[in-house]
């Protein structure tokens, strides 16, 4: 089948990690994506998929970017079977648009990444998640099927359209967080959840690090089932938000129980503005951290004066630091996190500190195996080359 894909010259506005593509290809179908990748193979071009462009500054910049593959033209919600709580949607569908459609059936995709405008393909490729990962998990827990176009232009599926399925390797997990280095995600199938009829939160001031850890742990070890427990932290103090989503009587009972458990606080209808957002601005160094959840006080100590939002139940946090000082402090921070199996990944770095910055940090003993996986999927290193750690 011959298809002609729309394309245009790349401009500065199309840059990925500061690298301007020669061409922006704008396929409108999976077949067109496949044909772009076959052409790229023919011509030895490097291809970097982009969607909502909310995370093109994340991770390491690509070593080469001949073609930016703009997937926003793949914007169909292919199938929503409400009775099965399953949706199939193309990679270029924006999460907000999908949520709006699903809400009509009283359902949602239980992902709430802090980047408005993100597409499903980008969310999968960057493994983006938000506060409610505590209750619903992340992409790897919700993605039940995926279609990718590989470096040679062939189309491959894994998983399926049913919530329970162990047939074959679950390659959706491998593509999740791979930043487009193994294949181009073109279609996704998701497990959905019912929208909760009621929602409410408890907000508690946190005077110091030790108390942050103590309060977080009280909630984690209780029988409460919050959707999220989020801490905003800065200048040595913070605010803890415990979000409940359930039927009204359970939101009521759990909120009261949380107040008693935490020894105070306020019940609020709306979560504070910082909830579900990343701290920091264009001039800051912004990090995503992961660590053993009980290590929260030690992590806050290691972060010093940073502005932090932390998902306390899961052990994931975002931190924003002044760029120069943050870049200098990064190796020490990573060393401080190491005892807690911790990592600190650079999401955003201002131009001034980007040179020589180690975006990903230390790599474990599985790195050679990761390289072998990359070599099998993309032996010519043409898919988002260098975006992932160690030049993957």
């Amino acid at each position: 089948m011959t298809t002609l894909t729309a394309a245009r010259q790349g401009t500065a506005a199309d840059a990925v990690g500061g690298v301007v593509p020669s061409v922006v290809a704008m396929p409108g179908s999976v077949d067109e994506v496949a044909s772009v990748l076959r052409s790229a193979r023919e011509q030895g071009h490097a291809v970097v998929p982009v969607g909502g462009r909310t995370k093109t500054g994340w991770a390491a910049p690509p070593a080469r970017c001949d073609v930016a593959l703009d997937l926003t033209g793949l914007s169909r919600v292919v199938e929503h079977t409400a009775g099965d709580l399953v949706v199939v949607a193309e990679a270029g569908v924006r999460l907000e648009a999908l949520q709006e459609q699903l809400a009509g059936a009283g359902q949602m995709l239980a992902l709430d990444p802090p980047e408005p405008g993100a597409t499903l393909g980008g969310i999968v490729s960057a493994n983006a998640s938000g506060p409610r990962r505590l209750r619903y998990g992340t992409v790897r827990d919700l993605l039940i099927g995926v279609t990718v176009v590989l470096a040679d232009g062939s189309v491959a599926h894994s998983g399926g359209k049913v919530v329970k399925n162990v047939a074959g390797y679950d390659l959706g997990k491998l593509y999740t967080g791979a930043h487009g280095t193994l294949g181009v995600v073109v279609q996704t199938t998701w497990r959905l959840h019912p929208l909760a009829p009621a929602r409410g939160a408890v907000v508690v001031p946190v005077p110091d690090r030790a108390q942050a850890g103590r309060l977080a742990q009280l909630v984690s070890r209780s029988t409460l089932t919050p959707s999220a427990v989020e801490l905003a932290w800065g200048s040595g103090q913070g605010q803890l938000v415990v979000l409940f989503e359930s039927i009204p009587e359970s939101v009521e009972a759990q909120s009261e129980a949380a107040l008693a458990l935490l020894g105070g606080g306020d019940r609020v209808e709306q979560v504070p503005g910082w909830f579900g957002r990343r701290p920091g601005g264009a001039d800051d160094l912004v990090l995503r951290l992961a660590y053993e959840p009980f290590a929260l006080p030690a992590v806050l100590e290691a972060l010093g004066d940073a502005q932090v939002t932390a998902s306390t139940g899961t052990g994931v946090a975002y931190a924003a630091l002044p760029a120069q000082a943050g870049a200098a402090a990064l190796p020490g921070l990573r060393a401080a996190l190491a005892p807690y199996d911790g990592s600190a990944v650079v999401l955003h770095a201002p131009e001034a500190v980007r040179a020589g910055l180690d975006h990903w940090g230390p790599v474990g003993d599985a790195f050679p195996l990761m390289q072998r996986v990359k070599d099998r999927f993309d032996p010519e290193r043409r898919l988002s080359p260098g975006r992932l750690l160690g030049g993957l």
């Binding site: 089948m1 298809t3 002609l4 394309a7 010259q9 061409v23 052409s39 073609v67 009775g83 099965d84 709580l85 493994n127 998990g137 790897r140 062939s154 599926h157 894994s158 399926g160 359209k161 049913v162 919530v163 329970k164 399925n165 162990v166 047939a167 074959g168 390797y169 679950d170 390659l171 997990k173 491998l174 999740t176 967080g177 193994l182 019912p194 929208l195 742990q217 984690s220 070890r221 029988t223 039927i247 009587e249 359970s250 129980a257 992961a290 053993e292 959840p293 052990g315 199996d341 990592s343 990903w360 474990g364 003993d365 599985a366 790195f367 195996l369 072998r372 070599d375 992932l388 750690l389």
Partner: protein, 500 residues
Amino acid sequence: MTVTDPGPAAVQAPGRTAELASRLARTLGADRVLTDPAQLRTYECDGLASFRVQPGVVVLAGSRSDVVETVRLCAELGVPFVARGSGTGLSGGAMPVAEGVLIVLSRLRAILSVDPDNARIVVEPGVINLWVTREATPHAQAYAPDPSSQQVCSIGGNLAENAGGAHCLKYGFTVNHVMGAEVVLPDGDVVHLGGTAPEHPGYDLLGAFVGSEGTLGVATKITLRVVQVPESVQTMLVGFRTVEDAAGAVSDIIAAGILPAAIEMMDALAIEAAEAAVKCGYPAGAVAVLVIELDGPQAEVDAQFAQVEGLVAARSAFETRIAQDAGERALMWKGRKSAFAAVGRISPAYMVQDGVIPRTQIGEVLGEIGRLADEAGMRVANVFHAGDGNLHPLILFDDAVPGSSHQAEELGFAILQLCIDKGGSITGEHGVGVEKKSKMSEQFTDGDLDTMQLVRCAFDPDGLANPGKLFPTPRLCGERPGPRTAADDAVRTATYGEVF
């Protein structure tokens, strides 16, 4: 039926197995290495007893270094190996390879650490599933995945098969509860995938490893996540006069926005079997029963439980029993969890399948399974995880009748084909193993399978780890699939190239 499938990488020269056995005996100690055919016979099958192959050597690993030594030697001599836990698998995943090595991990059963603050438990692969919850219980925590064999199955096996269980409707599968694994790769190298933190930079190789059915390596240490025990658990047993009513009730509960911890269904024949075996006291005259369990905060469970009572009543449930205490709950579950074994008491033999369908199609698919069974002149008992559409049809047959096992297998495959046609899967929790590998080509294209093979080749280029499982046709890692059709080449000319 006894199938002798040596697998693609079967050793060409048995002499290498003999050399391997003697070198292993020197390194690990003779008591850890079995070569006596009488002893080897114990290990010739797993829970899928219709497939049997006698291994060349059995290694009773006592430590990680035993596993490393064995795998390294296998790599050196090009001998295939298969890891085995408790041997309860139902797809033949732990069936040995003829002349190959079977690495038995059931002696690696130490609980290495219990960390209630971080909700992590680290275990060796031979640790029994239920032991994890036993360790967690004093801290008001539990290990969620609960396959029916949880009193005997091992965590290593659970990891290999991505085991499920009744409560994965709400809590997810093994893969959602494994945080990290120490893995001996097929070349003998040891790597650490995942860890104790929730995320790690780089590829999620752990996600690919869990459920890979022993084809990517051997896990020697596993970090699990445990959950807090819920404040309230309520269980009901509901009897229906028709399968359609029971299936309709399942859809109604899901459609009401309720996510129960479990919804299990049994049909008349399964009920009859369970009743005969364990006297579970299920409602007399029921054509279908549902076991429905809700858990969570008290207020939520109370309200939703009442709502479920209304929903099943609206579907003409003729008897609804509510467990008043843990003893009554256990009895309700006993009928369900013993159903497979119970069927073995009302039939000389049976074969269990493990298909998945979209959960809204349960009533229709059960009707079609009934028609297929009638056509084949066989009886099928249905026991399954209704909430997530995971069917376990139990095909009854008399193995004394020549050809009957083949006929049962044919019926099983017809049911799996039905699941595929409905947009489902050939396995929800038992794995593909040796039993269903031929059906993989029905569910996936060659291109899909080639892509999975890329992962296999990255981990195990020589194809030594559990060869002959999961994939329908073995492929050597050197063979890179090229352009698949002539049409592919024609397409290359068209595209973005014009801007250059």
